[in-house]
């Protein structure tokens, strides 16, 4: 909760503060946080040494990588026609929800087929 909220606020603050001087701040924040997420997730789940090591990087995953969504949503809000803002958010939530669910189903199938310990 603390990590996720801090990440959101940091991303929001950086995006709003530097957007007037650097117009690509929002995509830059999204990209940086997503790349940091690859590192922290890998260290949390793939290269684990102990429970506490994993938990530390789980916190860092939330702290460094969760803030991508606010700038992403702000980009959609800023660029779509005022008539379609609701539809745009509907499409965003729908498509990402379907994709996310497909991810769990596919990874579940891989775990089952290859007998991987989750």
């Amino acid at each position: 909760m603390i990590g996720g909220f801090s990440s959101q606020i940091i991303a929001g603050y950086l995006s709003d503060k530097y957007e007037p001087t650097f117009s690509r701040t929002k995509p830059f924040v999204c990209i940086t946080m997503s790349l940091l997420g690859i590192v922290t997730n890998s260290l949390c789940y793939m290269f684990t040494f102990s429970f506490y090591f994993s938990m530390t990087f789980l916190f860092l995953t939330y702290f460094l990588a969760e803030g991508w969504m606010s700038p992403a949503v702000a980009m959609v809000q800023a660029t779509i026609d005022v008539r379609y803002k609701g539809v745009a958010m509907g499409v965003f939530l729908s498509v990402t929800g379907v994709f996310g669910t497909m991810g769990t189903l596919l990874i579940g199938a891989i775990v089952d087929d290859y007998h991987i310990s989750a």
Binding site: M1, F51, M69, S70, M75, G90, V98
Partner: protein
């Protein structure tokens, strides 16, 4: 909430219908639970949210939010009195349906409440609700252990209805696009600029209002043609893929540590 209620175990690992949904509802096994907690909810949510988007562009966003909150809270009440799996499933599907009416009007209200300079921070604070909700969901276990799963659902439902009423009374629906550049969309489409001089007495061009269906398809088209939106949604899909998968499998992963 359903994850806590479905398989709630007493300290001595005893089954009790008062605390455990799986015991109280006949035939509510793990496969049916998986269906209910995952695909059934998400599929209805994902389809409905496409329509709630166009509703939020054309109806009062305050009323949409308030009634959605009250109606999805009523599904908690109907779950609390359910006696069969079909009744629980119907309530769960209605929950997905009504919850779909929360996101688009909420984000649309943020756009009109906050200027672009602080909008990302406003979105971030809105996202805080997700983390508060996750934290509160762990409190459900305490509630179930105190009053049982039926009353836990009922209390949650009553709180939700109260919050819906607060939204109805406390939120104002601002003018749409109040922070957008002042462009007359109808004239822009006809190539008429704000500075163009109109001949005195000339008929003002009449623009036919768009039908809901045209607006709906127009929204999709605008999203597809807008490169920023297209790539943001594409990128977000992969982030959600990662987020859902981690959330789904993390519990098993950390359980292995014993």
């Amino acid at each position: 909430m359903i994850s806590a209620a479905w398989n709630y175990k007493l300290p001595d690992d005893e089954d009790d219908a008062y605390y455990e949904m799986a015991v109280a509802i006949p035939g509510f096994d793990s496969s049916k639970y998986g269906l209910l907690s995952g695909v059934l909810f998400t599929s209805l949510f994902s389809i409905t949210v496409l329509f709630s988007g166009v509703a939020s562009d054309n109806c009062s966003r305050k009323l949409l939010l308030a009634f959605a909150a009250m109606l999805w809270s009523i599904t908690s009440l109907t779950t609390s009195v359910s006696k069969t799996y079909t009744e629980v499933a119907a309530s769960r599907m209605m929950l997905g349906f009504f919850e779909a009416f929360c996101g688009p009007p909420a984000y649309s209200l943020i756009v009109d409440y906050f200027p672009p300079e602080v909008r990302t921070t406003a979105n971030a604070i809105f996202a805080f609700g997700i983390y508060v909700g996750n934290a509160l969901s762990s409190m459900i276990i305490v509630l179930i252990s105190t009053v049982g799963w039926r009353w836990a659902y009922a209390i949650t439902g009553f709180i939700g209805i109260f919050i819906g009423l607060l939204v109805l009374v406390g939120i104002k629906d601002p003018i749409r696009g109040r922070f957008e550049p002042r462009v007359n969309i109808a004239n822009e489409e006809k190539g008429v600029m704000e500075d163009d001089e109109m001949e005195f007495g000339a008929a003002v061009p009449v623009v036919k209002p768009e039908s809901i269906f045209t607006k709906y398809l127009g929204g999709f088209k605008a999203m597809y043609q807008n490169k920023v939106c297209f790539y943001v949604v594409l990128g977000a899909c992969f982030r959600f893929w990662q987020g859902y998968s981690v959330a789904y499998f993390a519990f098993n992963f950390f359980s292995d540590y014993g």
